[in-house]
């Protein structure tokens, strides 16, 4: 991987939220939502971030967008550190990093028509544009996401879930972004619609050379769309590898448990598959366990796991695992 090809590089990213404070407002306890993660995304590729709710995957995405100000760490976008620059310096980058939300209905103004929602995004750069150009651009965007042009006069409540998600994508594309952070973009959709939207993401990537940071909890979806996958647990990346390796060769006990918990539709595979049902629940990030965050639920936990946090080590071929047993 050459350095120029890397669009986004995140180094030791930490996001701590104050949870309890003294009478004077000095925080004493922190929710360590993201606690030191590193990853990089190559231009034109898809990076999948998977984990259960509360593992910090959305927080990580919001830090990349600078919706949250990261507590620590660096975010390099095309080689420039954007983690500490001021909001006004950030402005040019805002255009090239866009966001797609999980719930398209919640992120669309119910009183604005489809055309006007897209128009707002097209005009967001503040440049003067001829009316004909704006109209052409709106039509181009709607066609790109395979929405019928007659939809332009409709309102979000008249659309189905899949159509709303398409509109959300059209709006994100209006600024000609390079990187799109997709936060659970298909988890609210039905299976048949979900497949349509996943295919749309893939064809847009081919056409426009987009790069995705794809955040989801569904391993099968991420496995399908992503080139590289990072599995998160309690604010840490516990395993990172090529998408193909995920199913063929999972190493971390948490990844294995996650994989076995994902239901499969193939009848004969399902009959043969052994399952690992994890005991208990994800601990609260305020009282994160010492050592390896996964050790209270891990079947292979040894004494070392209780005291020492395992580092994320390359097992060869870009397969990173954070586990003492490897």
């Amino acid at each position: 991987m050459s350095e120029q090809n890397i669009l986004l590089k995140v180094e030791n990213l930490k996001m701590h939220f104050p949870a309890e404070s003294t009478w004077f407002g000095k925080p004493t306890k922190f929710v360590k939502a993201v606690d030191g993660i590193d990853f990089q995304i190559e231009s034109g590729k898809t990076f999948g971030l998977v984990g259960e709710s509360g593992c910090g995957k959305t927080t990580a995405g919001k830090c990349v967008l600078r919706i949250y100000e990261p507590t620590e760490g660096n975010i390099y976008y095309q080689g420039t550190d954007i983690s500490k620059i001021t909001q006004s310096q950030l402005k040019p980058y805002r255009r090239s990093i866009q966001l797609i939300f999980q719930d398209p209905y919640g992120s669309l103004d119910p009183r604005q028509s489809v055309g006007s929602i897209v128009r707002e995004a097209v005009l967001a750069d503040g440049k003067k544009k001829a009316e004909a150009d704006v109209k052409a651009r709106i039509e181009e965007l709607l066609t790109l996401v395979e929405l019928d042009l007659s939809m332009a006069g409709r309102y979000p409540h008249e659309m189905s879930g899949g159509q709303r998600q398409r509109l959300g994508i059209a709006r994100a594309l209006a600024c000609e972004p390079k990187l799109i952070v997709c936060d659970e973009p298909v988890s609210a959709l039905d299976v048949s619609i979900q497949a349509q939207i996943i295919n749309l993401f893939e064809s847009l990537q081919e056409k426009l050379g987009l790069t995705y940071l794809f955040i989801a909890h569904d391993l099968a979806v991420v496995r399908h769309i992503a080139d590289t996958i990072a599995v998160m647990y309690l604010g840490h990346i516990v395993e990172m590898m090529d998408a193909g390796e995920l199913y063929a060769n999972p190493c971390h006990p948490y990844t294995k448990a996650l994989l076995s918990a994902v239901p499969v539709t193939d009848y004969y595979t399902e009959q043969k598959r052994s399952r690992i049902v994890l005991e208990g629940e994800v601990p609260s990030p305020i009282h994160a366990p010492s050592g390896c965050p996964f050790h209270p639920r891990c079947r292979h936990a040894a004494d070392l796991c209780k005291t020492q946090m395992p580092p994320l080590v390359d097992q060869g071929g870009g397969h990173f695992v954070a586990c003492h047993n490897y």
Binding site: S192, A195, Q196, Y247, V262, P263, T265, Y267, E281
Partner: protein, 334 residues
């Protein structure tokens, strides 16, 4: 084959909602049955009528605008749809005979009353026991669904528990009532995969130990492959295919079922191919065509599918596998 006794048998159920935009036929001539100690899944996308079917049987449809237009639901020899929704008999059915577990346990538990109080309230509604005994039964019900420190948990409010824990409480209510049938409506949709596995294993355990039956209503095909004995697939208010899990998953007949199965991303797919999709969107239930409701989205549909009345469920092979498709039926007749 030894004839098992049907615990619940629903025949020709029809439920409609009368709205400003016309009659919405949410459940359109639906028949199904559940045997004793059987796990049956009802699968379909949102808006296909799978939940309304279950709500109709429980007579929990809000009226107006909803109305049960016809059909019967035989539970232990009695048609429970004949009971008035607010009658004593119907209330005895709900909870005592059939328990329902909903998708979002937070909305089905009262947020300002402790879990223990809610549990004992249900127990005392259905059983003549003292408050003290009901409290003890509540504790053992919580213990039986694997909640640690049940005594302490009885004094908790629902918001003090996690999603998986709340869903366990809902299952505990069903356990405490000794229900014959548990209807779980999307029981794991709001939960994480690992918690989802825990809750499903627990339900399986309850079916096994308490000798109950279970209806799982879900859109997750993977979930039913693992846990269900038989499956009904619903589309636009109708059952369009039914059969044992093995038949349906290995030899699906209806184009909709085939489409659904191939639209699921596979974990073990060799290479990244385009997902097969079902084009278009589910139909508007307010103006359904007389013809097959799936025809507009069906890759195999021809003129007959679009013009002749909706196909009936017909046996495809064996004696448990039914499918409602013109093409399939014609192929077999020739």
């Amino acid at each position: 084959m030894a004839e098992k006794k049907h615990l619940l048998e629903v025949n020709h159920l029809k439920t409609s909602f009368f709205t400003d935009s016309g009659e919405v036929k949410a459940v359109n001539d639906v028949s199904y049955y559940v045997d004793e100690q059987e796990i049956v899944a009802v699968v379909g996308e949102s808006g296909c009528g799978k939940s309304v079917t279950q709500m109709s049987v429980m007579q929990l449809i809000q009226s107006p605008p909803g109305k049960i237009l016809g059909g019967e639901a035989i539970l232990e020899g009695r048609d429970i749809l004949k009971f008035r929704p607010d009658s004593k008999e119907m209330r005895a059915v709900r909870g005592e005979k059939i328990s329902m577990i909903f998708q979002e346990p937070m909305t089905s538990l009262n947020p300002v009353i402790t879990v223990g109080k809610q549990l004992t309230e249900v127990i005392r509604t259905h059983k003549k026991v003292s408050k003290k005994d009901a409290w003890q039964m509540g504790i053992s019900a919580l213990a039986s669904v694997g909640i640690p420190e049940p005594e302490a948990r009885m004094k908790n409010y629902p918001f003090e528990m996690s999603g998986g824990m709340r869903q366990r409480v809902m299952i505990a209510v069903a356990v405490a009532c000794n229900s014959r049938l548990i209807v779980a409506d999307e029981p794991t949709t709001a939960l994480d995969v690992t918690t989802q596995a825990q809750v499903m294993e627990l339900l399986l355990d309850v079916v096994d130990k308490m000798k109950t039956s279970l209806i799982v209503v879900t859109h997750n095909l993977g979930l039913v492959t693992r846990y269900a004995d038989r499956i009904y697939v619903m589309y636009a208010g109708r059952i369009i295919e039914s059969g044992t899990t093995e038949e349906l998953m290995t030899k699906p007949c209806h184009p909709y079922t085939i489409g659904l199965l191939s639209a699921v991303p596979k974990l073990d797919a060799d290479e990244q191919t385009h997902l097969t999709t079902i084009e278009g969107a589910p139909p508007d239930l307010a103006n359904l065509p007389d013809a097959c409701a799936f025809a507009p989205r069906c890759p195999y549909a021809d003129e007959e599918c679009k013009n002749s009345p909706h196909p009936e469920l017909r046996l495809t092979d064996g004696h448990t596998h039914f499918s409602a498709c013109h093409r399939k039926i014609r192929r077999e007749e020739t």
